[in-house]
């Protein structure tokens, strides 16, 4: 199991953008390791506000995992862009904001900005979960434009952005673009090295 992801996250200077690469063959382990590191180890530090944008799983699912990890609820907010289209919206979380569709990319940017401004904290971390899920719903040119604008805007606000990415056999155009915009890549399979 990777041990030093949290250490690497703590060492990031404000405004960093990082790709977290998960191996599809060990997806569940890696996903849990990422949640552990981001939400529990780093996210529960007092100065940190985490904005977790999810398209992969409904916020309620991520939140249930987070609760199992004893993550405090007052410093994590969700932007959920999947529950609506999965008809999974019956029981909305109080700390989540819901977007009609993962195609509403501008809306995603606006909600993240809203949460940053609404809950000012010394350290804000935005998690984007994930490139692959967004790519199912959006054409690559649009997604590249989205990431380019989002990451630059978060950088200028001194926000740390963590982009989850499941390694494909071959790098997709969006991944190639991401590699250009992020400051570093953490490969979960290599224990964060």
């Amino acid at each position: 199991m990777p041990v030093d992801i949290a250490e690497r996250l703590r060492a990031l200077p404000p405004g960093s953008a990082v790709a977290l690469k998960l191996d599809p063959r060990e997806y569940a382990d890696h996903y849990f390791a990422v949640l552990n590191a981001t939400l529990r180890d780093v996210g529960s530090e007092t100065e940190v506000h985490t904005i977790y944008m999810t398209v992969t799983n409904p916020a309620a699912f991520v939140w249930s995992l987070a609760q199992a990890l004893d993550v405090p609820s007052d410093r994590i907010s969700f932007v959920d862009a999947i529950s609506h289209i999965m008809m999974n919206y019956a029981d909305p979380l109080p700390n989540a904001t819901y977007i009609d569709s993962p195609r509403a990319l501008e809306e995603i940017m606006l909600r993240i900005e809203y949460l940053i401004k609404k809950f000012p904290h010394p350290r804000t971390i935005v998690v984007v979960d994930s490139v692959n899920a967004l790519a199912i719903h959006n054409p690559p040119e649009l997604l590249s434009e989205f990431f380019h604008i989002l990451l630059n805007s978060l950088k200028s606000r001194q926000v740390i952005t963590l982009v989850l990415e499941t390694n494909e056999e071959e790098a997709t155009p969006v991944e190639q673009m991401l590699n250009l915009v992020v400051d570093e890549t953490i490969d979960i399979a290599r224990g964060g090295r």
Binding site: D100, S101, R103, A104, L105, E106, E107, M109, L110, E113, Y114, K117, K118, N138, P139, E141, L142, L143, E145, F146, I149
Partner: protein, 269 residues
Amino acid sequence: MEEPTEPPAPAVVPGNGGLMGPATVLERCATGIEGVDNILSGGIPRGNMVLVAGSVGTGKTTLSLEFLVRGAERGERSLFISVTEASDKLMQNLSTFEFFRSDLVLNGSLVFVDLPVVYDRLGLEHEELLPDEIDILIRTIRDLVRSLGAKRLVLDSLTSVGYRIRRDERIRDFMLRLGQALSDEGCTALLVSEVSPTPGRYSLHGVEEAIVDGVILLWNTRRQGDILRVLQVVKMRGTAHSRAQYVMELTPIGILLAPHLKGGRGEGA
């Protein structure tokens, strides 16, 4: 009433706008709406008169009011001249926004005036305003701005005043003189124009957009069944500005803007 605490700033300061920047940069009236100030590279050149044009429910009043609230917060006294909606009802609607602060109204830095009441007091009762009545109207607004020391003004809406100034040459004259009076007072103004979207026409008479210093356009567009609000600055004298389209959201903490993504599909995607 307290005097607004505005530091005296030079009308013209040395420019440092990069390679393509102008030799001099006009003093800005930062709208205080971050997204709009980014588009306008800092704000509206002070003293400009700007048309805020859009069809019903596109957010013209909200944008204008936030402009005034942000100004009042910065110590610039702000004046809202309401024609279409009674101002007490307006303030009620406003109170649903967190960015609205009623203390600004109470301490006199944000002032609401109902134009119909003004018409009454001045005895301007003709359906069609005659030239000397238009004169009185301009002087009244100027005196109001001067006596309050207002640095920001909103007229909501120019269209409804335009209905009472029926002829093109009179609306042109009204606007030229109003613009001059306001800019003499260093007052930056937003004039709301209620138009149904026809390309290239932003006002009731069709002459207004040529006279104003700037045009901010608001409209609704559809994407996959959702309605998006879009904002675009089509003109702003005295500054470089983005002419791109932005998606606008009216949130409790104020207006937020994000670039309208095109995804390499160009215009009209």
